[in-house]
């Protein structure tokens, strides 16, 4: 496995070459690598962060010892057997989404690109099943794979300066949810009333890499009256 330095306090392990061909397989391989490194409890490792095709290992050079020996410990960890634990098996999570016009700032644009009407876009988006490839960009932001191919829409040329919290959006072949108000270039097609991130919860992020996700369409009235 290719291991390269990300500055002087982290290394990136390239787990698979390309996630586009088989997102599920890439995800499993990444989660496996993450668990192998975490289980090994290598001295000096601060945290392990998975992405699409890579796993980053952040370490404290003051405790990790010589760089060469540290990398060897990582390589040794990668050879250990992986036992699929309960926490590693995918959870199924349903997220309510309101595709109301007021929220769906870019639904028409996505519809035009796909050459479908906007109701059809919402229907197809809600019917598909997704997996969380990784969580990043901002606290609790899930990058979801599994978007129906025909809904793929390039990012906006000029990013919006403000995307409202809870916005469900399409960026290229991915879909995701903005947990907080933020600038962003993805095409917004709906909004969820559910909180994606709450620092006061034991597990602050609602979603984690590997989760299976479905969107359940809700009416504007359901959105307004929604309680967690």
């Amino acid at each position: 496995m290719e291991i390269s330095a990300l500055g002087d306090c982290a290394v990136v392990l390239r787990v698979v070459e390309n996630s586009a061909e088989d997102a599920d397989k890439a995800l499993e391989a990444v989660l496996k690598t993450r668990q192998q490194i975490e289980t090994a409890q290598i001295p000096g490792v601060i945290e392990v962060a998975p992405a699409y095709t890579t796993v980053a290992v952040f370490f404290d050079p003051l405790r990790a010892g010589a760089a060469g020996a540290f990398i060897e410990k990582i390589r040794a960890a990668l050879k250990t057997k992986w036992r699929r634990t309960r926490s590693a098996s995918p959870r199924e999570i349903e997220i309510p989404v309101c595709y109301d016009r007021e929220f769906a700032l870019d639904l028409d644009h996505v519809a035009q690109t796909a050459n479908l009407n906007s109701d059809e876009i919402a229907r197809r988006h809600a019917e598909a099943s997704y997996r969380v490839s990784c969580v990043g960009f901002m606290p609790g932001f899930p990058y979801l794979s599994g978007l129906p191919r025909e809904l793929a829409t390039p990012r906006r040329d000029t990013p919006r300066t403000k995307i409202p919290a809870g916005s469900v959006a399409i960026g290229g072949a991915q879909t995701g949810i903005y947990p907080f108000e933020s600038p962003g270039g993805w095409n917004v097609i709906g909004r969820t009333p559910q909180r994606l991130f709450d620092a006061q919860r034991t597990e602050p992020a609602l979603l984690r890499a590997g989760d299976r996700v479905r969107f359940r369409p809700v009416t504007r009235a359901e959105f307004d009256n929604w309680r967690e």
Partner: protein
């Protein structure tokens, strides 16, 4: 006892050494952009290194104390006063109840880290007292300070010693640790993870050209202008981890130097990474500043970090002897 914020300044927030362990949930490390500066300031006032202090950007700050405290600060070239007394960076002052501390605008550099004996007493959120300004949690109600805020301070056994006759204590931190802002600084980098996506000539330009800090810079990153670092092919990369110090290059060719509040993953190619020791310099860059990069080896980067830490431990032992 509280600290009363009379003037919060441009951007002042509660920060400690950051929030490790939550990257997989998309949470930035955050914390003092120059964590080393905060550690030094904390040691000076007798705190744990990890105590929460204030990060003050561009000065214009004024606060009143309601009990006796020791204070120290590190960072840019700020004019800091207690009444008519100047408090230089890396020195310790005793403040008495009712007195005010003023931090005026900086001549060079953009940030200062203020440690107060006892430390700031806000709740730990995900293991840290740092303010996450994007997701609005931690610190004081997850936001930057405002005029009129009351900041809770922890009690501290050493606070009583502030009643001593001396105003400024005789010991101080090494100047290179306490005054980190430089004119035309040189930031040392190691080769980026994606440097091979650029022509060797582009990397040479990156190392030889001077860059200017763009106004659109914040705790997430410093936008740079200068040579445009173009790639032959602008294929999108699959997003992966980035870290404070990472220099990424969007298709525009204008690099962005990421700081503590940066996102956890990004898709732009990483041409270089500022070494940890020089994040102190990066945290002082302000719009209009000119600087350049210099390449060193990864081994040298580690050695510099280890050496600084050895000196830090010696400094810590020395302080404990002096203040006994």
């Amino acid at each position: 006892m509280n600290l009363s914020i009379l003037r919060a300044g441009f951007l002042t927030s509660v920060q400690d050494l950051g929030r490790a362990g939550w990257r997989a949930s998309g949470v930035s490390v955050g914390g003092a952009l120059d964590a080393f500066a905060l550690r030094v300031a904390n040691l000076l006032v007798g705190n744990q290194e990890s105590a929460a202090g204030l990060e003050i950007a561009l000065g214009n700050f004024r606060a009143q104390f309601h009990d006796d405290r020791l204070v120290a600060w590190c960072g840019g070239e700020f004019d800091v006063r207690i009444g008519s007394t100047i408090l230089a960076a890396g020195h310790v002052a005793a403040l008495r109840a009712g007195e005010e501390l003023v931090i005026n605008q900086s001549k060079i550099g953009s940030r200062a880290w203020l440690a107060i004996s006892g430390g700031i007493d806000v709740p730990l959120v995900l293991g840290s007292r740092s303010t996450d300004l994007r997701a609005n949690f931690g610190g004081l109600d997850g936001r930057a300070l405002r005029d009129g805020d009351e900041i809770p301070l922890r009690n501290h056994p050493r606070s009583a010693t502030a009643a001593t006759v001396q105003r400024i204590f005789p010991w101080s931190a090494p100047r290179e640790w306490s005054s980190t802002a430089k004119q035309n600084p040189v930031l040392r980098v190691v080769r980026g993870k994606d440097v091979d996506l650029f022509d060797e000539s582009v990397f040479e330009i990156f190392l030889s050209e001077r860059f200017v800090v763009h106004a659109d810079s914040d705790r997430m990153g410093v936008r740079l202008e200068g040579a445009e670092l173009r790639r032959q092919e602008n294929v999108d990369l699959v997003s992966e981890a980035v870290a404070p110090g990472t220099i990424q290059v969007p298709p525009s060719g204008n690099p962005i130097l990421l700081l503590g509040d940066c996102q956890t993953i990004g898709g732009y190619p990483k041409i270089a990474h500022v070494i940890t020791v020089d994040l102190s310099l990066a945290a002082q860059l302000r719009p209009g500043d000119r600087f350049r990069f210099q390449e060193i080896s990864l081994d040298d980067a580690h050695e510099l970090l280890l050496d600084r830490e050895k000196d830090f431990v010696r400094f810590k032992v020395g302080l404990q002897l002096q203040s006994r």
